[in-house]
Each structure stands twice: as C-alpha cells, then as structure tokens.
Amino acid sequence: MSSWIVTYLWLIPAVPLAASLVILMLANSRRTASAALAIFGQVVALTMAVAAFLPTLQTPGYRAFHNFTWFTFGEQTLRIGWVIDPLAAAMLVMITLVGLCIFVFSIGYMAKDKNFTRFFAYLSFFSAAMLGVVIANSLLLLFVCWELVGLASYLLIGFWIHKPSAAAAAKKAFITTRIGDIGFFLGILWLYGRSGTLLFYDHGNGCLENAGLLLVGASATFIALLIFCGAAGKSGQFPLHVWLPDAMEGPTPVSALIHAATMVAAGVFLVARVYPLFSLGAIDGVTPSLTVVVWIGVVTALMAALIALAQADIKRILAYSTVSQLGLMMVSLGVGGVAAGIMHLLAHGFFKALLFLGSGSVIHGCHEEQDIRNMGGLRRLMPVTFLTYAIGMMTLSGVPLFFSGAWTKEEILHATAHWPKSSVPYYLMLAGVVLTALYMTRQMIYVFFGDKRAASEHAHESPRVMTMPLIVLAVCAIVFSIALTPAWPWLHGYLSGEPAHFEIGQLIQPMLFLSLALVAGGIGLGVLFYRKAGATDPLAQAQPAIFRFLENKMWLDEFYARTVLAFAHFAARFSDVMDRYFWDSLVRALAGVGQLFGILSSHFDERGINSGVDGATTGARGLGRFIAARHSGQIQTYLRAAGVGALALLILYAWLA
C-alpha cells in the first residue's frame, strides 16, 4: 500500500513548482488568481505530505525509497531517488503547514505590493525546492534542490530590488552560502570517489548503509566536515552566519518562511540526514567531526544570543535568535541527540514562524516601522498580535509545561549534559537559555508595554487574513508539546524508531525545575532591567563599551571587510594588473611572432612559388603562340612540309642503307 506512495512522492514538490510556473506566466494584475493558485498548490502538497506521513506511523523505523537511473555516463551510472522516513515525513508536514500559514499571511502583508504575483511565484518555487531537499534520497538530488533553495532565497531577499540594501543583502546571502556550498560540493565529490554512490539508502549499498560506510572508511571525518561547511552556510553557523541578519531586508513573510522556519533548518536537516557519516567510528558517541559540530554550535548559539541583546530592529533580534537556536540544534546533533535536535527544529519552525509573522503584523500595524525603540504600548492596540506574540516569546524562551519549545530545549539540555567529552557546552547552553529569555523579554517590553512612542501613535490591528495564521501557529506551538513531553515522548520515539509509552510520572524531571529557574531568572532579570527603558537602552547606559560591541555585531562584518574582502579586493587588483600588463604583453609578443611568420611566408609565397608558377604559364603560353603561328591554314604549306619530311626520310634511308 505504501509502495505507490513513495513512487509518487515527487508530486509533493512538483505541485508547488507547477503552481509557481503558472503564476509566473500570469499577468501582474491577476492577483487573486496567483494567490489562490499558490495556496492551492500548498494545500495539495500538505494533503499529500499527510498521506505520506500516515504509513510512517504504522511501523517504528519505517523507511521506503524509490531509486531510478538518471543517466549513464560511460561505465558510471548515476542514480537518484526519493525516500520517506520519519525524518522526511515530519519535515514535509511541518514545511507545508508552516508554509500554508505564511502564504495566507502574505495575502494581507503584501496586499499593496505591485509585484504581488511574482512574490507568490517565488514563494511557491521556494516551497517546491525545500520539499525536494527533504525527500531526496541522493546527495546529488539534495544538492540540486539545496541550490534551488538558495536561488529562491536570493530572489526573495532581493524582492524589493529598488532598495540598494536589499540587493546587497541578497548578494551577501548568496555568496556567503556559496562559500559553504563549495565545501559541501567537495564533500560530495569525495564521497562519490570513495563509495561510488550518492544514494542514501539502496538495499544496503547506499552511502549511509553498512556497505557504503565501509568503503568510506577513515575519510568519513573529512567528508563529514566538508558537508558541514554547506550546512553551516545554510544554517547561519559561525563564521558564516553574517548573511542571515542582513537577509531580513526581504519582506517579513519571507523572513518567516525561509530565514526562520524552513530554509535555515535545511543545514540541520542535512546533518541529521547524513548523520551516519558523522558518527562513523564513534567512540562513546564522540567523533572529531561531531566535536567540531558541537563547538561551532555552542559558539554560534552564545554569540548570537549576546548580539540579539543589543539590536534595535525587531526582525534583526529575531534573526539573531534564529541563529542562536540553530546553534542549539547543531549542539544537540553533535552530542548525539539527533531526535532532540530535529524535535527542536520542528517546534522552532512553528514558533519562529509565529514570531516572525507577529513581527510582520507589528511592522504592518506601525506603518513599516521596524525600530523597537519607536514602538511601545502596542498590547492594547494590537491584542491578537500581542497574545500570539507572547505565546511565541514564551515558547522560544522555554517557559516549561505548556509550550513546545520548552520540552525540546530540555531534551537538548539533557543530551548535552551527558556528553562525555566536556561539560562546558552544557553550562554555556544554560547561559544561552537565560540570555534567550532576557532578550525576548527586552523585545516584548519595548514593543508591547510601556508608553506609546512615535510609531505606535496610529498603530492598528492587522486584518483577519493576517491574524488567522498567527492564531493557527500559536495553537500549533502549544498543542505540539503533547507529542514532546517525557510522559509520552511520542515524537522522540517516532524519530528514533522506538515505540513510546505513556507514563505520567515521567512528566516531572529534575531538568524541569532547573530550566524553570533559569527562564524565570531570565525573564525576571529582563523585567527588572528594562521596565523603565527609555530612548536609550539600559545596557547602553550601564556598560556602553559592551553594548557598542554587541550592537555592531562584534564587528564581525568589519572584520570580514578588513580580511576576507580586503584580500579579495587585493587579489582582484593583482589579477587586473597581471592581466593588463603581464599577460597582455605576453599575448602581444606572441601575436608579433605570429605576424612575423605571416610576413615571411607571404614573401616566400609571392617571390618563390608564385613567380615560378607564373614563369611556367608564360612559357607554355609562348610555346602555344609559336605553334599556333605555324598553323596557317594554308594546306599547300602543310603539303610542302609533308613533302620535305618524306624527302628527308628518303635521304635518311638512302644514307643509312
């Protein structure tokens, strides 16, 4: 029954793709039709995703795949395919559901944009590419869709092309992720060279199965690290995180869909997908590649949380929060908590989309104002946005019991605590929890509490089409926790292939109190600190040097400008000079030699060969003229000649005889 589902799995990305292509062909004025088409495509994809999700529920550790030959090149046969397993199925449902909410929200948010149809075409295209990444059963197919996702991201960040900052941000995002993708691509080549296949699962012969892993052997560490380069670029991990905050130049639904809920999760998903490569030859669950993942994740999580504390742009705060949460997921994967990391990824997809859409609603209500210092007192003016945003904020901060983010975060902390190599990541993660609560409280107080400031004077609640997705996502963020609690760890069991049992006694864990204390501490500290916040940030008053350091994103952009960019500029100028003077003169010299040979051979031709042929023809012509002159037409002359000839012969005969 399930085999035909996996055969037709390609339809899930194909439907949004078809919708996108049709929308592209529609006229700019067909706004209703394009939005309806995009949403219809997404609904169909969601339905099919659920249909593909159902069979994975029946047996633990279910996995079905469908492979076929793409092309044959000499003796090499390249095969691709798609796979459905709990990881892919859960991602499919999350992406299509969050995507649907964001599509609906976009109708309201983009209502006045003149490129409305193009926006929906790009959104659908992005959705198709992302779904392709999830179902790919071949690293090559995954890479193709991965790059399409990057392209969609580029198009959508730079959607408002008339803004130079948006164009610059789009370029920055594209180039930064490409740097990671070079590593990813090298990893793919290396993997193919070692194992001879890029299929993940192929009846025991795939590169993630026993036979393939045996072939990979000791180079798995390097391959895994190269693939992690790509994941780090896409998921905004240090040091390639710089593009993600700038990507907030795109329309807010884009930030929600791509740069919070789905695309940036692709890196985490990729690491989870090729996890056997990372954990190959693990001793006590530790490998060099996984250790790198842990430390990169820790640095990213903590650094981004600190920077988020000093940002003023409502979306930038959320962007750094996303970077920080992705770091958290990476830590979880690195310490061996794959299920925990993916659970957090799924929960994060819901609540971060909720927060971004909420911020979009705020921005829309405040007439395109994004600076939180100009907002304030919005809770009465925008009650629905306020309530849903508060739910998102508490889920992100990890307020225990009712919010999905709390359970997944605890799971991660639990996994990190048991990492045998070092306990430093665990304590840094605890610090990250406090910081998360702190910066989210700061944002809430600035935006929704206190007195009205300049931008909130004329603020208004957003239309129903924008608040409905907020409500749906808020409900998801809460209801989702049912499947996450330790009392009934259904999702954990589903992802790791073990059946889950219901035990109410497991609900209360010691970790719960710890995280309650940490979150309460963070929020309490935030309230205490920012309660009377005015135009200048309290942190800026207390520690201006640290605040400036954080506000300027630890001067990483400037650092890159001084080092990487300066080197690139130098290399470019050097190449220019080399090209202009060295190579150019070399080419000119070569051309001169060529010309000299040309002149010489031209002279030889003219004087030697040509005149010889000329002489021969002149001689032949002269001979012809001489003979023609003898040919007078006087028959008696001919007869005379014949007579003389006969006489001569006669004399000769007589003389010889």
């Binding site: 003979i627 003898r630 040919h631 007078s632 037409g633 006087q634 028959i635 007869l639 005379r640 007579g643």
Partner: protein
C-alpha cells in the same frame, strides 16, 4: 630497246613529281585535285610494272590492285569535286590561299 623495269620506274617517278609539283604550286583547287590524281596514277604504274616484271606474272595481282586503285581514285575525285563545288558556293572562290579557315 626492250622495255625494262627501270624505264617504268623512271616514268612513274616523273609522273609522281609532276603530280606533286602540280599539287604544290597551283592555286586552283581543281588543279590540285588533278595533281593528286597524277600521283595516284604514278602509284598504279608502279603496281603494274612490278607485277609485269615479277617472278609470277601469270597471276594478275598488280592489275587487280591497280583497277581497285582507279576505282578509289574515281570515288575520291567525285568527293573532291563535290567538296570544291561546296567550298566555291560558300566562299565564292577556289583559290586555296584564301581558304585558310583551318589555321590555328
């Protein structure tokens, strides 16, 4: 004086030379034809003379060849005269010096 082969051969040679002279020196086409016929006649005289003084004069081989030759000469004269008439009709002359259309 008994006739000998030499006398006939001298006669024949004289006849041939007269014919050749006529063919070479006359400008009129018909005279040239007459000259050619004279040379043919000289050849015929040779045929008959060599037959008459051959070891086997009983067989009339030389006379037969001569008769054939005369027949061919008659045909040749007919064709030649026809050509001369055709040439005259075309060029309004039979002077061979004017008939130099065959020149190279």
């Amino acid at each position: 004086m008994t006739p000998t082969l030499t006398i006939f051969l001298i006669l024949s040679a004289a006849l041939f030379c007269i014919g050749l002279l006529a063919a070479l020196s006359r400008r009129h086409a018909i005279f040239i034809l007459i000259g050619i016929d004279l040379m043919l006649a000289a050849a015929n005289v040779n045929f008959v003379a060599f037959w008459r003084f051959s070891p086997e004069p009983a067989q009339p081989t030389g006379v037969i060849v001569a008769i054939f030759s005369i027949a061919i000469a008659a045909a040749e004269a007919a064709v030649g005269l026809a050509l001369v008439i055709a040439v005259y009709r075309h060029y309004r002359t039979t002077n061979v010096d004017k008939l130099n259309q065959l020149k190279g």
